[in-house]
């Protein structure tokens, strides 16, 4: 077995800061820092406590009108997550309706071609075609438990919108999905899919008309409807408890994958790779490995939306995290071939993992992503989502450069299937012919 690839210098941004241990459940953040010496070290990806802090990131930066709803949601989630009956019902739906556990595929032909052993965690095989289902089933059950009758959601590529519309249909709830006008055009089929599922899709025409603006609009709508409506946020972002709650709902990816790779390899993979926009599939798979293994963790952002590598700390959408912004703090527009990664921020826990050096943050450009998309189709017969193809693109590049040594074992989270992207990829490739 090759040694783990070199752990390069931790990826940081901004000035170096003093690291802050994650806060344990219900701790007072500052007091805890002073008494850590006699305490067992807290988990790297643990409970962020009542303030929702991951180091200095996270928090709850929302208008007062939404604070009571966030507090209520946190309490409801803590209660549900500790309730075996809730966990059993969630597991049962994910198994019998969602198709879990998803397999890990050992990619023979791709391995031969790249010289590193590639394993895929097949979230593309989840019902609705991406990992997003794990989160919406959890939040849908929680909304029902809280007596909410309506779900609202933002969506970029449409995967989270489709998943939310699916959960709403399953639980007999109303559903409204906010989607940037640009994205409704590039993901037309997903708009129709949501409508077939009984949801209303509202095109958002403010700002850059992409995911960032869809989040703004969903938050605005939530303020006006918070009494009977649950905001089903799609990623590990937003105000506390969302970053933590969504990571916990996605943790099933990492927990399954760790057991599956141990059974397959007899050990842990050297590297675990996932794409990251808001960062939910990456958080989900990392959660299974960050504390339990010494596997290297790599998140791959779109190069036009690389919040960790090119952003600086800031506050947007209820959270303090790494954001792409100008000197004054105006948020800049991200740009990517993939609507799901077209976001100028990233979940706060990722900013924290980057600062700790526990995960590395890389980026992939549109061209390399298109190549990786086609490569997986031809070598393995799998069409990945353009989002997931970012993770593959980094593996291809790192294998070619020698950064991943021959024989390294790499687990890639294949977060979604690429059917939704086929028309867009066709147009791009034909445009070149």
């Amino acid at each position: 077995m090759a040694p783990p690839p070199g752990r390069s210098a931790p990826n940081t941004f901004g000035a170096p800061r003093q690291l802050h241990p994650p806060c344990p459940p219900h701790s007072d953040c500052e007091l805890y820092t002073m008494t850590t010496e006699t305490t067992t070290p807290a988990a790297i990806m643990g409970d962020p406590g009542p303030t929702g802090r991951f180091g200095e990131f996270g928090g709850r930066y929302v208008p007062e009108a939404l604070v009571p709803a966030c507090i209520e949601l946190e309490a409801a989630f803590r209660d549900a997550w500790a309730d075996p009956a809730f966990r059993d019902e969630l597991d049962s739906i994910l198994r019998n309706y969602g198709g879990r556990p998803t397999p890990v595929t050992d990619c023979g032909r791709l391995t031969e071609q790249l010289g590193v052993r590639v394993l895929l965690k097949r979230e593309d095989l989840t019902h609705t075609g991406s990992h997003k289902l794990n989160n919406v089933i959890g939040q849908g059950l929680l909304a029902r438990r809280m007596g909410k009758r309506k779900l609202i959601a933002e969506t970029g590529a449409g995967q989270h919108g489709v998943a939310t519309a699916t959960a709403a249909a399953l639980f007999g709830m109303e559903c409204i999905v906010y989607m940037g006008e640009v994205d409704t055009q590039r993901q037309e089929l997903n708009v129709f899919r949501m409508e077939l599922l009984g949801a209303t899709v509202v095109p958002v025409t403010s700002g850059s008309r992409t995911l960032k603006d869809a989040v703004n609009e969903a938050l605005r709508a939530w303020v006006a409807s918070v009494d009977d409506t649950h905001y089903c946020l799609g990623s590990v972002m937003g105000p506390h408890p969302y970053p933590w709650m969504v990571r916990e709902f996605q943790r099933v990816i990492g927990d399954e994958a760790r057991e599956q790779t141990r059974a397959l390899l007899g050990t842990d993979p050297d590297v675990v790779v996932a794409c990251a926009g808001g960062g939910s599939n990456a958080a989900g798979i990392f959660a299974g490995f960050a504390d339990a293994t010494s596997s290297d963790l790599v998140a791959v952002e779109a190069s036009g939306g690389a919040a960790v590598t090119t952003g600086i700390p800031g506050v947007l959408h209820g959270m303090r995290s790494a954001l792409i912004q100008d000197e004054a703090g105006q948020i800049l527009e991200a740009e990517s071939i993939s609507a799901g990664l077209d976001y100028p921020g990233i979940g706060p826990e990722h900013a924290h993992l980057a600062e700790l050096g526990r995960a590395r943050y890389e980026s992939a450009g549109d061209e390399a992503v298109l190549e990786a998309f086609q490569l997986l189709a031809r070598t393995e017969g799998i069409l990945p989502a353009l989002e997931s193809a970012h993770a593959l693109a980094w593996v291809v590049a790192a294998a070619a450069s020698g950064e991943l040594e021959p024989g390294t074992t790499v687990l890639v989270n294949l977060s979604g299937r690429g059917d939704k992207d086929v028309a867009q990829v066709r147009d791009i490739l034909r445009g070149r012919a």
Partner: protein, 267 residues
């Protein structure tokens, strides 16, 4: 119930508003977006002349999450004209309109500038208050402590959804006045005043002696007068900014604010 047990000296904004209120006046606080056009400083002067007791100056942010269509549009226009927080404060330092100025903006602009630096710059520019709607009670401490030192009153908001047990704590930390959010929604004109506007003002008054001003969803002279049957004053934004977007200029702004003043004084 009455004010906080802690003895503290009221800042400039709070003193000015308390003096007006205790003399029997209702408080009128119009809002405009800074940098909207090249007349915006003239509009400030016109508002003061038309009877404003303080003026809320919006520093535009790219992602105005609690604002509806009108303020989104004015923010976008101002940003397209190259408006920056630094530029707005520099402009404000060149005028003296005779009433306290209160900045309204989103926290990222404060955070990026640095608390001490921007609080100092606000003070230098004559700004005596700040409303930061995405910085709720639990997150406001670091900023508010610094702002206090610069006589910049951190005005906190109470919403219709705020439970009574939170209202006391919010009033305790608020300076200048308490901003009562009149309805569950984003900023924008409403044909009918929400019942929640007067209800939330009354609930806040049970916890504090600070002035209580209702904003969000107060759009007409009649609505302002009705709210002031309970509240100490009103903040009026979208209805004024819409007139400015329509090109009615300082005169149109003065006429509208004058009509609010007249209705509140008659009420």
């Amino acid at each position: 119930m009455s004010a906080s047990p802690t003895i503290r000296t009221p800042g400039t904004l709070e003193s000015a508003l308390l003096t007006r209120r205790d003399a029997g006046h209702k408080l009128l606080i119009p809002y405009i977006t800074a940098g909207l056009d090249d007349e915006w400083l003239l509009v400030l002067e016109a508002l003061a002349g038309a009877g404003a007791d303080a003026i809320e100056v919006g520093v535009p942010f790219s992602d105005p999450m609690i604002d509806g269509a009108v303020i989104q549009e004015s923010s976008l226009r101002a940003l397209e004209r190259g408006t920056t927080p630094e530029g707005v404060l520099a402009d404000l330092s060149r005028v003296d309109v005779g009433v306290p100025l209160v900045v309204m903006t989103y926290y990222n602009l404060i955070y990026r500038a640095g608390h001490a630096r921007i609080a100092g710059a606000m003070h230098q520019s004559g700004v005596r208050g700040a409303i930061i709607p995405d910085l709720p009670l639990e997150e406001v401490g670091g900023w508010a402590a610094v702002a206090d030192l610069e006589d910049v009153a951190t005005v906190l908001l109470v919403a219709p959804s705020t439970p009574d047990e939170r209202i006391g704590a919010i009033c305790e930390r608020s300076r200048g006045f308490v901003y009562a959010v009149g309805r569950m929604g984003v900023t924008g004109e409403q044909a009918v005043l929400a019942d929640s506007a007067r209800e939330v003002a009354g609930r806040i008054q049970a916890h504090t002696d600070l002035p209580v001003c209702v904003g969000i969803g107060v759009s007409t002279p009649d609505q302002a007068a009705t709210v002031c049957e309970v509240a100490d004053g009103v903040v009026v934004g979208s209805a004024l900014v819409r007139r400015l977007l329509e090109g009615r200029g300082p005169d149109g702004a003065a006429e509208f604010v004058g009509s609010l003043r007249a209705a509140m004084d008659a009420g």
